[in-house]
Symmetry: C2
Subunit: 269 residues, 2 copies
């Protein structure tokens, strides 16, 4: 299986792909948009991108790409996000730590309590932090990196799992030209743009799910291009071919100026 | 007025503060969390942070900090996000462009069509892109930077407003110990955690707004710590002291395990 994902080598996206399919042949792209373009232009059949992190929330670029491109969500997969301190020295010898700004923010308590005097140097990706550390031979430099980057650059880990929120996971989606067949335990994702910005329009749409006992698993309003004018991204339990889902969608369509089914796929979380 | 915001000098946050109050004395902090801590510990009375971008969506760190800290939203302000190409050469001489990865993604079409052969070097912030360019004297280097960074580093702009989405704005919030008094044209922000994960619970809560003709301006579900278990961030028109808002909130509280009012403030968008 060939899968396009976010590079460079050593990112969490890379880790998510290897966990999903350890034999996958991987093509790296610099942005989410490039991954969607690669699949659309048949460079390969599948792409994997992050869509939501339990600490930082949705990945805006992925939500935008799902709106723009005519691709489907085929699978979801969840990766535990584990940040590790790598280096050749120890906590007493470290003076400089390479870290991506988001990673820095996710390991703030650790850095403050265990390395209060060290200087943090911002990097452009977790993979870059590993690469920069790999160029240093001394005991003074360290980096905060994913497991897969430690393996690729052969870097010793001084402390594992140093992120502040011990429960920190990212949900990735596998995108392709088609979604997945019914399994009996599915989720469906869609984008809806209501016909009118009037009080209660969202409520009226959700009512159709409630009537049919369909559980929502996620809802997010997202600026449609200007702030204050919103699209809704809604995930719910059930397959788009389930009878009760078909009925609910027919009703919701009558409240919508635009409705796009992003796909049905087996529920993994 | 003293305001803490995200540094270093030359970020869009810096630009938002100077637009909001051109006389403000500014303190720079590396992360959103630090801004909230600074205001909480009385280092200064106000902080300004981004909460939502029209292209990339919500700023997760800000939503988390609003949940964690006991501070209020006092104001909202909207900044147009304008990316500019800076450099000493021209489009024919440029071989290398410094750009923050998010900025790179937001200017993709421009880079592809106008600078197809140039190498993009990732940086850790837009301000850093400006700093790196300022250290180069040749015609080969360029950077994509905000207006304010061009002013600070005295860098010539080759092309203005090069972002792909011409409508690209970020909403910032001013946080403090208290929110704002009623003006008659207000918004209120809150976080709700429903009592039970059952089909229809969100619908029942939104019904209370619908009954009273209260217009929602934003809704977002956000993992409460694990994926699949959600808090709701809801913005709506009206002040928390308006009679109909007080009534709606009383009803919604009966469906909630947790309800936090983040503040009422004049509606600017």
């Amino acid at each position: 299986m060939q899968i396009i994902t976010l590079g460079p080598k050593g990112t969490f996206s890379h880790e998510a792909v290897t966990r999903y399919d350890s034999q996958a042949e991987i093509i790296f792209k610099p942005t989410v948009w490039d991954v969607f373009e690669g699949v659309t232009s048949n460079q390969t059949s599948f792409g994997m991108v992050p869509i939501e992190n339990s600490v930082t929330g949705s990945v805006g670029f992925t939500l935008d790409a799902l709106l723009h491109f005519d691709l489907r969500i085929k699978e979801e997969t969840v990766l535990p996000i584990k940040h590790n301190l790598a280096g050749k020295g120890n906590l007493d010898t470290i003076k400089t730590v390479y870290a991506h700004p988001q990673t820095h923010a996710q390991c703030k308590n650790f850095l403050r309590t265990r390395l209060p005097k060290s200087e943090i140097i911002d990097t452009s990706s977790n993979a870059k932090s590993a690469e920069l550390l790999s160029q240093q031979k001394d005991l003074e430099h360290a980096a905060i990196i994913p497991n897969i980057a430690a393996q690729i650059y052969n870097l010793p880990l001084l402390e594992k799992n140093i992120q502040d929120h011990k429960f920190n996971v990212t949900r990735f989606i596998l995108i392709g030209k088609e979604d997945s067949p019914k399994t009996g335990r599915d989720k469906t994702s869609m984008i809806v743009y209501p016909v009118a910005d009037r009080p209660g329009i969202l409520c009226d749409m959700l009512e159709e799910f409630k009537k049919r006992n369909i559980n929502l698993t996620k809802i997010e309003s997202r600026p449609s291009g200007k702030l204050g004018d919103y699209l809704f991204y809604i995930d719910y339990e059930g397959h788009r071919e389930d009878e009760w889902v078909v009925e609910a969608l027919k009703k919701i369509e009558s409240h919508s100026a635009f409705l796009k089914i992003l796909g049905s796929y087996p529920k993994r979380c």
